[in-house]
Symmetry: C2
Subunit: 305 residues, 2 copies
């Protein structure tokens, strides 16, 4: 059985990439901040299936964290992660130190545009610039043919895909479905912060998004309908009622532009809908979303008020 | 005799690049705004000599021009340019329209850092962000092994080289000496704006930089010496006296950091010096500079006051 190779320098990684390219093999890439869960492993499995060689990066990127965010306490466990990655068949992990990525004198950045303005971008100033900068760096180091991202961080995915398009990068971004726990909670390394009690409450975020999704599909299909504000207000209240400390946002938007949909007319003009929420449970900020084509959806619908 | 191929789309250009890479040939790249002079041709000749295939881009990049700058009147002549490039042996010119580079919805940019703050960056807000953004795009399209830039735009060169380093791009930036007219004027497409009378005055910018260079070398070598401010003030006055309308800047800086050197102690601590000037002659803004290692310079010195 092969063992996974941990690469800590850009130079060594570029050297290995060069050899693989010379052999004419395609490169798949899974950028992560580590502390793997099934969601990460699914991205790796898909890359291994589709590409000649798969690189995973583990880097808790300091420049995408705000001053009062969880950079220092973000969970890290390299030996656990490398064992998990190895089991899926990954051979290379790029795991640089911060000084390797941001040496003294570092000063150039990539600035995200309109897609980064609302949702998490509005609450975490500079976050998506930090994400774009590190991902541009990683893409230049790994030069992947395909790069795999989870839909849980949908705004991130949209911003990164736009960056590759705007800056004419040759990598193709592959969107992968959110992997969930049995009770529906979206997998996230940050779930490890939750107490047992909070963990029981946590699926409420997914349930309220589901509720709003069903309501929106029904509203779009028939004349009249509840006001969007009323629907959203109800979801926020439900989260608070069930034990969330606060709701950063609960929004219904156009999945292409990430612009909020103001009313039912706007909803009916839209084809792909993005419903997303961010809410604080104890000391943990959770996010989740649903992206769906409003015209193609069929299936069971719930009642809503 | 081969003829030069004008490529106007990103897709077609990437396709050709792919073939060349598959053949294992290296790619040299000369990004330009067109209206070629001997300076551009020197960059092309050097690339042709050093690389398997050379690509020249001609693109007057709108996002690096300020609202009151010369975007619309910037000189353009594609048929003259392609004939000149062809004579040097260039086979491919990438010549996109603005809509190909900045389609509707374009929103991601590259932001330059500290090296872009002073000199032209201070007078042209956003200029170097526009330069970095277009050069990052061009590098991603052409994927050159080597890219050739002239020392006349030294700050641009430093900012671009820093970008490639910070964002882990694999291209190597090749610095090429400024090509000058017989009377010392640095070649520039913007020299075409000058009237015959202005053209006679124009070399004063180079002469004053030379004067300051000699003075600085002498000052560094012996104790005491004229104050740097007095030296600079004298150069600015000379430019005005000889017919320049205004002086945007005349500065002596550390060539590595592009930070102005405040005094003689600072000068003596510095190894590579950057003296640069920007001044307006009639309606034309001219720039020029000299970069030199203060400890290695020998040769004739002029007197100064």
């Amino acid at each position: 059985m092969h063992s996974v190779k941990i690469l800590s320098t850009v130079a060594e990684t570029k050297e290995i990439i060069k050899q693989i390219k010379n052999e004419g093999r395609t490169i798949g890439f899974v950028p992560t901040m580590g502390f793997f869960h099934e969601g990460h492993l699914e991205l790796m499995r898909r890359s291994i299936k589709e590409c000649g060689e798969t690189f995973v990066s583990i880097f808790v990127n300091p420049i995408q964290f705000g001053p009062n965010e969880d950079l220092s306490k973000y969970p890290r466990d390299l030996s656990r992660d490398s064992a998990m990655a190895e089991k899926t068949g990954v051979k290379y992990i790029f795991h640089p130190q911060a000084a390797e990525m941001y040496p003294e004198g570092f000063q150039t950045s990539v600035k995200a545009g309109a897609l980064a303005e609302d949702f998490c971008g509005a609450l975490r100033p500079g976050h998506f610039d930090g994400v774009c900068t590190v991902v541009a760096k990683l893409f230049n180091i790994i030069t992947p043919d395909l790069a795999y991202f989870g839909m849980k961080d949908y705004q991130q995915l949209a911003v990164i895909e736009k960056m590759t398009e705007d800056l004419n990068m040759s990598v193709k971004i592959v969107k992968c479905e959110t992997v969930r726990e049995k009770d529906g909670l979206a997998m996230s390394s940050r779930n490890s912060y939750l107490t047992a009690g909070e963990r029981e409450i946590a699926p409420a975020i997914k349930e309220n998004i589901e509720f709003a999704r069903n309501a929106v599909i029904e509203m779009a299909a028939k004349p009249g309908g509840t006001l969007l504000e009323k629907l959203i207000e109800g979801r926020k209240l439900d989260l608070i009622r069930r034990g969330f400390k606060s709701v950063d946002y609960f929004k219904i938007a156009d999945a292409k532009t990430l612009k909020e949909i103001p009313d039912l007319d706007g909803l009916r003009r839209c084809s792909t809908i993005f419903i997303a929420a961010a809410a604080v449970l104890g000391k943990t900020r959770l996010i989740d979303n649903s992206v769906f084509d409003i015209k193609k959806i069929k299936g069971p619908r719930r009642n809503y008020q």
